[in-house]
C-alpha cells in the first residue's frame, strides 16, 4: 500500500483530502491527514465578529466532520518533516512515512515580530482580528468604546486575505455611524505600501472610498515598534502616530514545523513552483494554500483553484506523467465596503483586477470593481458555499479554475 500524507486540515488540506479521496484507487493508496487542532474556523467570518454581525457559531465547526471516514485522521502535533527520509515525525514520537507529501500547514499571525506589540496593551486596546481570540476580544471592546483615535494598521506583506484590513476599516466606519459615535472617532489607515490601493486601475476606480468615508491615510510606514505604555506606533524613520484603539495585522508567517524542517524561507513559507504547486526542494512534496511562498493571494478562493490543479498534478505524478502548469494565480474576492455594499475582484498573476461583470459576461450578477448591494449578498452567501461546497471540493458553477477574461474591460 502506498501512502499519501497531508499535513494540515484547514481550508486547503480539507479540500485536498476530499478531492483525492474521490480520485485515488483505494486498493493502492492510503490517505492520512494530520492536524493538531479540533476546530475548523471559517476565517473570512472573523471580519464580521468584531461588529457582532457574526457570532462564534457562524465560524466554528469541527474539522473531523469534513474528513471522509475512509481517510485516516490523526489529531496530533507535528514535530518535523524529514524530507530526505520521506518521513514525518509527530510530537509524540510517531513516525509517518509517505510516498507523496502535501504540505497545507497554512499561515498565522506572529505579533512578537514587532517590538512591543504583544506587550501589556495586547487584547486590551491593541487587537488583531485574524484569530478567534482577537476578533471576540475586539468585539467586547467595541461594545463599550466611546470614541477616540482609531487606527487600522498593516505590518508587512504578505498577509492572509490582503483586502481584509481595508474591509475592516470600512466596516468600522459604518459600525461607528450606526452607533451614533462616528464624529467622536478619528480614523486612520496605516500601511507600509504606497497607499490603500497599489494598483493604478484599482486606485483610479476605488481611490475615492477612504476620502468619502473621512478616513486618514498614512502610507510608506514601516513599523519599528509599538509603545503600549504611551499608546503610539513608530516607524523606522521616526514617524509617530498616537492611538486610543489600535487594530493591527501583525506579520504573517508559515508554521514553525516548516522552519524546524528546513523547508521554508525567512517567513517559513515553502518555496513552490508557481504553476505546478510542486515544492522546489523535493519532487514528491507538494504545497498548497497559505503555506506556499507564491505571489498569489493567501485566500480560500485561491486554495480552491489550487486544489483543482494540484489534484490533477498528484494524479500525473502517480502515473509518472509530466505535471500540468495550470495554476495561474487566480483569485476571486468580495470586498465589504460597509452599509450593505461590497465590491468584487477577480485577477491572476498577470491580469490586475479590472471592471466588468462576473461570472457571466454582461449578465453578472456580480459587478467587478464596483460597489453594489448584490456583491454584498454574494459575500454573505459565501459562508454557505464554503461549508457546503468548497471544503468538500465541489466545483463552483460558472467559475473556472483559470481566470476568464470574458466580461472584463481589459
Amino acid at each position: 500500500m502506498k501512502k499519501l500524507l497531508i499535513l494540515g486540515a484547514g481550508t486547503a488540506g480539507t479540500m485536498m483530502v476530499n478531492h483525492l479521496n474521490r480520485k485515488l484507487n483505494k486498493n493502492e493508496w492510503k490517505i492520512t491527514v494530520v492536524d493538531q487542532h479540533k476546530t475548523h474556523y471559517y476565517q473570512p467570518g472573523f471580519l464580521f465578529i468584531p461588529f457582532d454581525t457574526y457570532t462564534e457559531k457562524d465560524v466554528i465547526k469541527t474539522k473531523k466532520q469534513f474528513i471522509p471516514k475512509s481517510v485516516e485522521y490523526i489529531e496530533k502535533a507535528i514535530e518535523v518533516i524529514e524530507h530526505d527520509k520521506n518521513n514525518v515525525v509527530l510530537k509524540d514520537g510517531t513516525n509517518l512515512s509517505y510516498d507523496i507529501l502535501i504540505i497545507a500547514t497554512g499561515s498565522k499571525i506572529v505579533p512578537d515580530e514587532v517590538d512591543g506589540l504583544a506587550d501589556e496593551g495586547w487584547h486590551k486596546n491593541v487587537f488583531d482580528f485574524y484569530t478567534i481570540e482577537g476578533a471576540t476580544a475586539l468585539r467586547d471592546k467595541l461594545k463599550t468604546w466611546e470614541g477616540g483615535k482609531f487606527i487600522v494598521h498593516l505590518t508587512e506583506m504578505p498577509i492572509k486575505c490582503p483586502v481584509a484590513p481595508l474591509e475592516f476599516i470600512m466596516l468600522a466606519d459604518a459600525f461607528f455611524h450606526k452607533k451614533g459615535i462616528r464624529e467622536k472617532v478619528e480614523m486612520t489607515y496605516i500601511t507600509p505600501l504606497s497607499g490603500a490601493f497599489t494598483k493604478q486601475n484599482c486606485s483610479n476606480v476605488l481611490g475615492y472610498l477612504l476620502d468619502d468615508k473621512k478616513i486618514n491615510m498614512v502610507s510608506d510606514f514601516d513599523v519599528e515598534l509599538v509603545n503600549e505604555q504611551e499608546n503610539f506606533i513608530q516607524s523606522y524613520d521616526e514617524k509617530k502616530v498616537n492611538y486610543d484603539l489600535l487594530v493591527t495585522i501583525p506579520t504573517n508567517m508559515g508554521d514553525d514545523v516548516i522552519e524546524r524542517s528546513g523547508l521554508g524561507d525567512d517567513l517559513n513559507f515553502v518555496p513552490t513552483h508557481k504553476h505546478t504547486l510542486q515544492s522546489k526542494k523535493k519532487e514528491n512534496i507538494f504545497v498548497i494554500g497559505d503555506a506556499t511562498d507564491l505571489p498569489s493571494s493567501k485566500a480560500g478562493s485561491v486554495a480552491h483553484f489550487q486544489a483543482e490543479v494540484l489534484t490533477k498534478n498528484i494524479m500525473k505524478f502517480i502515473n509518472e506523467k509530466e505535471l500540468v502548469q495550470e495554476f495561474d494565480g487566480h483569485a476571486n474576492c468580495f470586498i465589504e465596503s460597509g452599509f450593505g455594499k461590497a465590491f468584487l475582484i477577480d485577477f491572476n498573476y498577470d491580469v490586475e483586477p479590472v471592471e466588468g461583470t462576473f461570472p457571466l459576461p454582461l449578465v453578472g450578477p456580480f459587478s467587478l470593481l464596483k460597489e453594489t448591494r448584490i456583491n454584498h449578498i454574494g459575500k454573505l452567501a459565501f459562508k454557505y458555499i464554503y461549508w457546503n461546497m468548497l471544503l468538500k471540493g465541489l466545483p463552483m458553477p460558472g467559475i473556472t479554475t483559470q481566470m476568464s477574461k470574458l466580461g472584463k474591460k481589459i
Binding site: 515580530e113 490582503p162 483586502v163 481595508l166 484599482c202 511562498d293 470586498i335
Partner: protein, 105 residues
C-alpha cells in the same frame, strides 16, 4: 503607460514613472531617476542595494520586504532610510527599474 526619454534612451513607464520593461534599464537611467527621487549622487552603497534588489527580484519574482532587506545582511533598516529617505523600498525599486511593492488591489 507612456514612452519617455531618459538619459538618451526611450523607455516605457507607467503613470508613476516606474519602468515597465526591465530590459530597458541601465545605470544612466537609474541615475536620472535617482535625481528625480531627490538622491543627488548614487554612492557605492546605493548601487549595492539596487543590485541586491535586482538579484532578489530575478530569483523570486517579487520584491523583498523591509524585513528581508534587514535579514539579507546587505543593509540595515536605518541605513536604508538614510540612503533612500521617505519610502526606501518604493524609491529603490523605481531606481532599480522594478515594480513598486504591491498588494492585490
Amino acid at each position: 503607460m507612456a514612452t519617455k526619454e531618459i538619459a538618451g534612451s526611450m523607455v516605457d513607464v507607467n503613470e508613476e514613472g516606474f519602468l515597465t520593461d526591465f530590459g530597458q534599464w541601465n545605470e544612466a537611467i537609474a541615475e536620472v531617476i535617482a535625481a528625480e527621487e531627490g538622491i543627488e549622487e548614487m554612492s557605492d552603497r546605493h548601487w549595492e542595494v539596487i543590485k541586491h534588489l535586482q538579484d532578489y527580484y530575478k530569483e523570486n519574482g517579487a520584491l523583498p520586504s523591509i524585513r528581508k532587506m534587514k535579514k539579507s545582511g546587505v543593509v540595515d533598516t536605518k541605513e536604508l532610510y538614510t540612503l533612500f529617505p521617505g519610502g526606501p523600498l518604493k524609491k529603490s525599486s523605481r531606481i532599480a527599474g522594478l515594480k513598486k511593492p504591491e498588494s492585490c488591489i
